[in-house]
Symmetry: C2
């Protein structure tokens, strides 16, 4: 296996953990006897739904924003995001007391727009296409001098997201598997990097919606094949891998398991009903992967990163 | 204040705690900075939604069932309940490996019927009136010799439910207030008893749906005035006080605060969105009471018993 020297090494991830620890929660690891019995394995849920701003995204955003130098920082930060990354950048900017400019698609869930506003960020709405988002963002950065904080394709972001799996390995030893959702790949590549350096016997698996399966196809093809018209209920995972996240995932993950929206909803319902915690569809892909391939995980110790809990209670998929 | 020698004293509640501790979870106490900021007080949520079978009811049922002598126990136990108490008796009977006969109204939530079945109990369905429930239960007890495990009006049940507040006082000192939901009064009377004996400076408050406000009216009148046609979304709180729970509540609680269904739903949504935990409407009455009388709780340390998390995800009140 090739470990590229550009990738965040253990000491870099540890530095990220030190940098952000005052500002984030160390989230709990929960277990459920009912679910363990049902799937015949030991599942350890790393609950980033309890994280500040309701998702792991605050880890990467805080790491990237705290690492800016003073001249950069005072001009503020900007990003485009339909959801959790927007909240994360808004909150991290508030921590550093600098302006945040957030470009959000008009059709983002109301609850996410409201949260971004409450953190004091400036929102600019745009058409729900990547092109529209990027164009408006560029204009904002030019006008204000704000630094763009990418949602995933950035080593500082990846190093920050890696701290979730770092904590899981500190709390639970000898995992056979660790499963993380994959959209743009920030969380999965961070998880893979830190697992390779902390617990080499643990296999890293990406859980990806079948309707946005670019990681699955890209890893097979050996090159990035972005999703065209991705469609899944896991709206946090619509994005495609980037040139920083793809090589790490290709090299350091064992497999990408794709799951249907039906499986995601079933897994989400199980987690809500049995564990009494609110998780978003993206966060349920890990358990959905176990439902999809139960034989792989039988009698194994499996860590699952529950990525977040930001759902629109007015639009739940249960009926 | 009068402390009746029949009431469970501290050593009786402690014995209950010892008896049941192997079989129940010590549930966590959660806090939310957002909610504390919003209501200008320090709230400590005792999370019985994470309890076995999803509610505090397992405490009382396990205490009562483990205390049966062998002759009684082998004939089994029986009860009528539309919800959490049914699950609790079914589960506690399984712990003791004895039969459980549960009478449930036909219109009970599917998720609760299913859970009772999964614990291996015999379900008999009946019309949704107290009369119908009691009549069928009587027949079953006569035929099988099973012991009736009452849902609340019983000192062993009250002593068992008291252990939730006991744990809260052990984990959080110097509470100014402790708020528990009130239906039949098992949880509230237990909370009041243990608080009086462990932390006399803490005022105990009952939170009651306005549509089932028999405790509010009974305490005012100085005698039990049962609800007629109670109606509230908090279906766990439709029952009225009994002759064991009423005197304790009258003597040892400071106030019953009534809350509207709208307030309950608003509080429930706040808890789901901000704390990312699944709580049932009954469990949200405590926060609803703070929303209803914020000035009472300003700058105070307030414990809230989150009674349970058993909701029917197909019938949520959010829209």
């Amino acid at each position: 296996m090739l470990f590229n020297p550009d990738w965040p090494a253990y000491n870099i991830i540890e530095a990220a953990a030190d940098r952000i620890q005052t500002f984030i929660h160390r989230t709990p690891v929960l277990t459920s006897r009912t679910l363990n019995r049902k799937f015949q394995c030991e599942i350890y849920f790393k609950c980033e739904n309890f994280q500040k701003a309701g998702a792991f995204k605050i880890r990467g955003a805080t790491n990237a924003i705290l690492a800016l130098n003073i001249d950069q920082a005072e001009k503020g930060v900007a990003t485009h995001s339909s959801g959790n990354h927007a909240q994360a950048v808004a909150m991290a900017a508030r921590i550093r007391k600098i302006p945040a400019y957030i470009v959000m698609p008009r059709n983002s869930p109301e609850v996410k727009k409201k949260a971004v506003q409450e953190y004091g960020a400036h929102i600019t709405e745009c058409d729900p296409t990547l092109e529209a988002r990027e164009k408006i963002l560029e204009t904002i950065c030019e006008e204000t001098g704000a630094t763009f904080i990418p949602p995933y394709n950035d080593y500082r972001i990846i190093g920050g997201q890696a701290t979730a799996a770092m904590e899981l390995h500190q709390d639970v030893h000898d995992l056979d598997y660790i499963i993380a959702p994959v959209g743009g790949g920030g969380l999965l590549s961070g998880t893979a990097l830190v697992t390779y350096q902390m617990s080499r016997e643990t296999s890293v698996i990406g859980a990806e919606p079948a309707g946005a399966d670019d990681a699955y196809r890209s890893v097979r093809a050996g090159e990035i094949i972005p999703s065209e018209n991705p469609d899944t209920i896991a709206e946090g995972l619509l994005t495609s891998l980037g040139d920083k996240t793809f090589p790490i995932i290709k090299e350091l993950t064992e497999e990408i398991i794709t799951v249907s929206d039906d499986e995601i909803i079933k897994a989400m319902r199980l987690i809500w009903e049995r564990m009494k915690i609110v998780v978003e569809p993206s966060a349920a892909t890990g358990l959905a992967a176990i439902m999809n391939q139960p034989e792989t995980f039988e009698n194994k110790r499996v860590g699952i990163i529950i990525s977040g809990g930001n759902v629109d209670l007015d639009n739940l998929p249960f009926h």
